[in-house]
Symmetry: C2
């Protein structure tokens, strides 16, 4: 008998009508002979309201354990309502809060990590022929208090539950119907992928495709949980995230993604001596600013270097401020900041075995007169930084160049 | 060091501003050297919204355990917010859900009874110099699931926590500033009582004075918890509910109350034979209809009886319907129903030792031409049923007759 974990996000359970709709959907699977364990988020908007109340009392330095207690109440409402709706459908069901489902986390309140899931409570429920309805996003810490996993943690809960139960599949129902070769709002010829590998999904998630949380994909990869991304609104097959061996088609490139959350920082005429990069990036690391796409160019006389890198736009002002503070100590001329850039990436496990992938990318962009400001690569992706105004043009051109266009 | 349990109801924590106000109030007590444990309800309106969602999914036959899971989330929000507000006041505080506070109940979901409170978690918190903020209205059942105590259960939670901790006092903060000799909206000369006995408070609570829940007073009486009813809006002393030995003043009568939730039913010309009352009231008991103030009068020839009694107005239609169904079997002539009646009561432990209390009541009413339709008494109260139109007149006349008027 197939065992499936089905996760429904906040928009899927936004009101009573949608909760009934989810119940009907789960009921269809149960009647078709599958065993189902459901994981749900809070009703859309609820978590924001709860966070607003917390910060209304204590704007910044709020106690994280109390924050968790307040915010975790959102999922408590939806598990109860969905269990009731399932029972009304004639499907025996029972709600489980994080602590009731044996979801044990570390003590890092408001951004806890799941340490272990005791499979016994959920397994007993399933064996009794019932559908367990589990609160996502929450667990219990070593101190016996409620913890939350941080925003979007419900995906992670679902994957962790699927791993603990040894489920055959973990379905993530969301407001899109799968993973696309590119953003369909920008690239009208984008196609829905039938399958994608964990590695590709990880890269695409971290490169700006907001379908799945990076963290949940990493967890799925580690425990080999077969993930499916599909629409909670339409009843059509979604995209399966699987092991490379399970891939049938072998495109070289699976997707072209972009991220506007980039800003370019250039530190000009730094004295080029050993340790200068460390001295530059040390203070940024201390301030928890992530740095990406570092390019260093040395002046003709070899005495000076220009160092260019990217940070997320939200960190740009702080980055410049920190650098200005260490300017005298480091002895550079000035800092330039440019928020009008975009990172465009091609992703595909096929590039491991195929040469010329990078070349095709650079040529395609050059043909459109698009200047590449920085490059970074991994085993299965190539990213370039370009001026933001070329974003759509670059995306469509690359999509066509790698043969991804829908015919 | 004095230990006080302070309970704040839904209107006292209705929004962030009021939660801050409650925190400031608790902080004053802590700074004055008292140890305080707080019990709170959900924000006013929240519980109704949650119940509405439950019945929106399943109108009547909803699973009570799921109902409890949903509805208990309301208190979860307020304990976290109040703990945060206390910390902002510089008072170390920590929230406790029912299960975290060791509040164990029976398994009667949605109307559970507290079986036991493990005092260790709250005591440890207090000994660490912190204020525990406990979710009222909820506990954990023998099955490890969340239970709720039924409407108004937060008062009961507070009294039970006070008993478990051996607290010196349990303060119930509400939207009135104490217990009055009568309803001040009807009797302008009503006075606030400094003290009242448990027995009197019990009678007054069940006779319609909506200050405290009957159940919580009974619990306080059983465990000799000194209760105080006081306003959460004004900082004035309230009314202490205490043992009879602690009473200083000795009024014969402490209060005059009334209840409009009464309806009179008269069953006319019942054949007067043994077992007829049982046959009449049996079907009503089976339908969970509470019957009060039974009066039986026998006809001159001794063959027929008229039986009059009261039920709550909500039960009137059902009562008549049930009686009509057994009419032939019982052989009575007809059923009369009269919803326009009111029950007026005088309550006081002093009537145990003073004669003439009932006589004064009957005389006072007779002087105003008010006809008494039924009478019931207990050791410390006398109730009469009169036509509703005389309610205010009767209340004011009795209040004056027993010397309760404010000078």
């Amino acid at each position: 008998m197939t065992l499936v974990v089905q996760k429904f996000g906040g928009t899927s359970v936004a009101n009573l009508e949608r909760i009934r709709h989810v119940a009907a959907r789960v009921a269809r699977h149960v009647r078709a002979g599958e065993r189902v364990c459901v994981v749900v988020s809070a009703m859309a908007g609820t978590t924001n309201q709860l966070v607003e109340w917390v910060t209304g009392i204590e704007p910044v330095h709020y106690d994280r354990a109390e924050y968790d207690t307040v915010v975790a109440s959102g999922e408590q409402v939806t598990i109860g309502l969905l269990a009731l709706a399932l029972r009304r459908e004639g499907i025996p069901a029972r709600s489980f809060l994080g602590w009731q489902a044996g979801i044990r986390t570390d003590g890092a309140h408001s951004k806890a990590r799941i340490v272990e899931i005791d499979p016994v409570p959920l397994r007993s429920c399933l064996e009794a022929g019932m559908v367990p309805v589990v609160a996502g996003f929450q667990g219990i810490g070593p101190d016996g208090r409620i913890t939350t996993l941080g925003r979007g943690g419900s995906d992670t809960s679902a994957v962790a539950v699927a791993a603990a139960l040894g489920a055959d599949r973990c379905d993530i129902f969301t407001d899109v119907d799968g993973v696309y070769t590119s953003d369909p709002r920008v690239v009208p010829k984008a196609r829905k992928l039938e399958r994608i590998t964990y590695e590709e999904m990880l890269e695409m998630a971290s490169l700006g495709a907001k379908v799945l949380q990076t963290r949940s994909v990493a967890l799925a990869m580690r425990y080999r949980v077969r993930l499916q991304v599909l629409s909670s609104f339409e009843d059509v097959p979604g995209t399966l995230v699987v092991d490379e061996e399970e891939m049938v088609e072998s495109q070289i490139i699976s997707g072209v993604t972009y991220s506007r959350d980039e800003a370019k920082v250039s530190v000009l005429r730094v004295q080029d001596r050993p340790g200068v990069a460390a001295a530059l990036f040390g203070p940024l690391a201390e301030a928890h600013i992530n740095v990406d796409m570092i390019v260093q160019s040395v002046s003709r006389d070899g005495r000076y270097a220009n160092i260019t890198f990217t940070v997320s736009r939200a960190d740009l002002a702080r980055t410049v401020e920190i650098l200005e503070r260490v300017r005298d100590q480091l002895g550079f001329e000035r800092v330039d900041a440019d928020p009008d850039v975009v990172k465009v990436s091609v992703v595909g496990v096929g590039m491991r075995s195929h040469a010329g992938v990078a070349h095709r990318m650079f040529r395609t962009l050059a043909e459109r007169g698009i200047n590449i400001q920085a490059i970074s690569t991994s085993e299965i992706k190539i990213s370039v930084l370009i001026a933001e105004e070329y974003a759509e043009l670059a995306l469509r051109a690359l999509h066509a160049a790698y043969g991804l266009d829908r015919s």
